[in-house]
């Protein structure tokens, strides 16, 4: 089944992950798991140099069709983040924004993060955040109804709180990539909110997509539910739904 991966990264991690860290390694994983597109942010941008990392990500996305770009924004540098968004969201491959409270050292409750989120909402309809406090996510979901917010990792082992948020806000989406593959996590979520607000995100190439796919495969989803999660929900958020429909008509 075709997939769209809403959580990827380009670049190296400080761990023993052989054969990874490059655009080619992401494409290799896309081919291995039938992933049409992976929306990715730069690890260099997250962990060190926002501008150099975004530039590297853009270059990779230009050269490799499966790769789409989240522009990484850092609330410590609001003006520069706005410039980065204006540069890369104008590109066809620029599909949204990634923010990371941990790596930037700016919590979601910090006024600087609120300022950044306002700028993001002016420029795009998609942001992925890792991690964030439930009350801030709820505030943003209410304040910016046209902004779709993906909660990366769905709060990991505290996923019931993420499910509650999604149940209350139709513009909150969950991805479940996590080293702790809790059994029952997906089934619990589908029972509470259905599949419309679940996207497939792998965290490649920090995490192998197989590990995350296993959680979904274990959940006894119907083919229709799997198609929604693996592909169609992501396609809708990325604005690929129309081209998807066209391809099906053609097929």
């Amino acid at each position: 089944m075709k997939k769209i991966d809403m959580h990827g990264h380009l670049g190296y991690w400080a761990f023993a992950i052989p054969n990874c860290g490059t655009a080619e390694s992401l494409v290799h994983l896309c081919e291995r798991y039938d992933i049409e597109h992976v929306a990715a942010s730069s690890t260099q941008a997250l962990t060190y140099d926002m501008r150099a990392g975004n530039e590297e990500m853009a270059e990779a996305a230009r050269e490799h069709e499966p790769l789409l770009m989240y522009v990484y924004c850092n609330a410590n540098w609001l003006a520069e983040s706005c410039e980065e968004m204006d540069t890369y969201l104008a590109e066809e491959f620029g599909v949204g924004v990634k923010i990371h409270c941990g790596y930037s050292g700016v919590s979601s409750s910090d006024p600087r993060m609120y300022d950044l989120m306002a700028e993001i909402a002016r420029r795009t309809s998609l942001v992925k955040i890792h991690p964030g406090a439930a009350e801030d996510l709820a505030t943003w979901a209410r304040s910016y109804p046209d902004l779709n917010i993906i909660i990366a990792h769905a709060f990991a082992t505290n996923y019931p709180a993420a499910v509650d948020l999604a149940a209350a806000h139709p513009n909150i989406y969950l991805d479940f990539c996590c080293s702790h593959a809790s059994r029952g996590k997906v089934a619990y979520t589908v029972e509470r909110i259905g599949t419309a607000q679940i996207v497939f995100g792998s965290d490649m190439d920090l995490i192998d997509p197989a590990f995350v796919l296993g959680m979904f495969e274990e959940a006894d989803l119907t083919d229709e539910q799997k198609r929604a999660v693996y592909h169609d929900n992501g396609a809708r958020l990325l604005g690929l739904a129309q081209s998807l429909a066209e391809r099906r008509t053609q097929g």
């Binding site: 991690w13 761990f15 023993a16 992950i17 052989p18 054969n19 990874c20 390694s25 994983l29 291995r32 798991y33 080293s179 702790h180 593959a181 809790s182 059994r183 029952g184 490649m204 190439d205 920090l206 995490i207 192998d208 197989a210 590990f211 995350v212 796919l213 296993g214 959680m215 495969e217 274990e218």
Partner: protein, 236 residues
Amino acid sequence: MVTSFGWDRNRPTDWGLDELLQVLDRHGVERAYTHSLRAVQYAGPEGNDETLRACAEHGVLAPVAVLDPRRFFDCREEARRRFEQGFRVFRFFPDVQGWSVDALPFRKICETLAELGARVIIPAGPSGQPTRIAELLTDLDLRVLLIGGSYGSLGEILAVLEEFPSVYSDGHMMDSPFAIEAIVQFSGDHRAIFGSDSPMRSFESPLLMAEHAEISDEQRRRYLRDNALAFVGEGA
């Protein structure tokens, strides 16, 4: 090599024996080494009795005894008694139970387990712990399976596998690309062992990792089955 059954006190779920058996049946598991969570969270001997009963009733289950070095006074006696009852694998929980592998009771219990010819399962744990465990037990004739290593500890585990031939690694949390390939390679094909941590965690996640790993079919068979049998002293 890594399953359990019982209550998870931290969430409203029942990971009971039926749940475990259902997962094993669904995936056609030939044998699962398991223990009662009662032995981890409450009382080792009572929990080990429960494990023994479950394994006697269900042929797919093989018993793992839990020893808690915090109650050192009877642990070596408990180890001998369980070995006589057929337990060959003994598992430790320094993370959940809050004790250090540097505590002398752990070493003394392991000396007894080595005398018995038993096997040990223990979490890879935080940075430094895989190395510490390997160094601490290297003079004993004792096979040790490190479990729960992930991308954060993989580098250290690979170094330990390369250096210490009595150390094995499981793959239930080896979630990064090429992690399975790496532990297979650094363990010389024979000391990488499949685990799932069922029923608490997804069986499919580590299974799909194994199925997609870029290793030979022979290496995959060893990883999924043969290496576990060799670890406990059966087969090759």
